[in-house]
């Protein structure tokens, strides 16, 4: 009886928290699928549309290069994901399993860059990117975005947990460092790879601050930059803005919900808990 009441109390609390969390998302969906006058027009409160319409989506697709922006986002975040997962795994192996002069100093330098907001270096970074001839290409966003130490940090934490005997055994069998990395460390790092891949996919899909500076041409925009541009063009057309916001959110949200178990499991094993 007491346990039952406990469950009810906990369920009530979590239901309230869940309701508060989902409400803004519900409101976005409701506004995206209704005419402007209906939900936002009058002074009185209306919480759902009488009639569902796709008009907002039609307007967005008719006036903006949605497909281009979408494929820009896909291309940029996939390349960022592949590059940053690879570089993080390689560096994580060195910092967790190899001994080399300067490792501590190098590790702390990488850690220090974690607290560096891009706005601090944006002026100088912009000059470098322009000087390298990258401005006006995807690479102006991709390369600076992959220059991060977060993945390195996670990879090192995770790989410190790999039993030393396995590494030593491979070394005694005459395996080189690359072979040890490929045959022993990588297969054991699957939960880590899931976390790294998803974290970099999520952050580059939603990245805003640097792409805002690096992408000036409409044809190169990613979805978040396109979203801000669209909002600037449409003014108070909230229906169109929310329709496009949904196009930005839904793909990554689906990936996230499908893989959340692996994500939690990967974090649980990465040694930062």
């Amino acid at each position: 009886m007491r346990a039952r009441r406990g469950i009810l109390a906990r369920a009530a609390v979590i239901a309230v928290v869940g309701l508060v969390t989902i409400s803004p998302l519900y409101w976005m969906v409701a506004v995206a699928f209704s005419t402007r006058a209906e939900l936002l027009g009058g002074r009185e409160l209306r919480l759902w549309p009488r009639e569902v319409t796709l008009g907002n989506f039609d307007r967005v697709f008719a006036s903006f290069p949605v497909a281009t922006w979408f494929s820009n986002s896909v291309a940029i975040s996939l390349v960022v994901m592949i590059v940053s997962v690879t570089t993080s795994l390689l560096a994580g192996y060195a910092f967790s399993q190899l001994r080399f002069p300067g490792s501590t100093a190098l590790f702390f330098v990488a850690l220090a860059t974690l607290v560096l907001p891009v706005q601090v270096i944006m002026v100088a970074l912009f000059r470098i990117v322009t000087g390298m001839g990258l401005y006006g290409t995807y690479w102006a966003v991709i390369l600076p975005t992959t220059a991060s130490a977060f993945g390195l940090f996670l990879a090192r934490q995770f790989m410190l947990g790999i039993p030393r005997e396995l590494i030593e055994a491979a070394r005694l069998d005459g395996a080189g460092h690359l072979a040890t990395f490929l045959r022993i460390v990588l297969p054991l790092s699957r939960p880590l790879i899931a976390v790294l891949a998803f974290m970099s996919l999520l952050s580059s899909w939603n990245d805003f601050a640097w792409p805002l500076i690096a992408l000036k041409e409409n044809r190169l925009f990613t979805l978040p930059i396109g979203l801000l541009y669209l909002q600037g063009q449409s003014g108070s057309d909230y229906g169109a803005t929310m329709a496009f916001a949904l196009i930005n959110i839904v793909p990554i949200a689906v990936v996230f919900l499908l893989f959340q178990r692996y994500f939690i499991a990967g974090f649980a094993r990465s040694g930062i808990k």
Binding site: G6, I7, A11, V13, I14, V17, G18, T21, I22, W27, M28, R43, L45, L47, A94, S96, L98, R99, S103, L106, F107, A110, L111, A112, L114, V115, P117, V120, I121, M122, V123, A124, L125, I128, L143, A147, S148, R156, L160, R164, G176, L178, L202, N206, F208, A209, L228, Y238, T241, M242, N248, F256, L257, Q260, I264, A268, R269, G271, I272, K273
Partner: protein, 326 residues
Amino acid sequence: MPSPTPEFASRPAGDVRREDGRSGAARGRAGARPRRPGSRREALAAYGFIAPNYVLLLVFVLIPLAGALVVSLQRTDGFGAGEFAGLQNYARLWSDPLFWRALGNTVLFTLIVTPVSMAFGLVAATLLNTALPARPLFRSILILPMAVSGVATALIGVLVFDQNSGVLNKLLGAFGLPAVTWQSDAGPAFLSIVLVTVWWRTGFNMLIYLAGLQGIGPDLHEAARLDGANTLQRFRHVTVPLLGPTTFFLTVLNVIYSFQVFDIVFVLTGGGPAGATSVLVTYAYETGFVTRDQGYAAAIGMILFLFALLFAAAQWRASRTRDVVE
């Protein structure tokens, strides 16, 4: 796989082989780094492994950082070469009320958002770690905001908090409460960016706390229950202490993110009204790319970086002392 202790987790990279008997003995004898056959090759291999990551960091982070330091000593609009201005930009900061406002807002924002979103995350994770109906559904709902881009989050905020047509003021009105001036008054505007950010951030904290809770076996709770501890006492004396390393990790991450809050402020309030919600990163951005006072913008950025570094170092030290004490 053995679960790493906090001491283990905060160990610097050079010490990873502390439990390696050979190197421990060597260190004991000579007090220096052990030299083993092939260690030169090992070092070369290591540099090869870290090269891709560090070349990227060097070109796109460290060189620009050095560049920012140089620019912060110049007066420049970004076109042509700047002129050397010494520490003038830093001296200007001292008497710039907008800078102090942005600094104060950044600190206040961090001090509110970090503990609030972490507390919500911890409570939600603890609840979702017990027997509950529809648990996967609630977990999915709570982490959903994490997948929403900052721009979209802020635009949903614009929609909800609009003081004339926003649904929040209409809801308040339906309960007979007065409308809140979310855009025209400083306090409500600041509150709106705090609320939106807490909504956005709680899911991530919950997720990491859930991962941490998975590492706590049921036997400790069982033992505490047999000793007569009630639910609240078990939470206070079993769950919270065992989540210490998770809390440390999340504190550092949340403070870093809060110092860097940009999307939400830039899109939701633009720093307004009259600088009331301006933070250091938005102020640096406006100064550098809108008013194009790039030397001054770089100086603001360097101060911001210094603050963040000092904080991170303080956290690091605190965690190390705590590990020694425990």
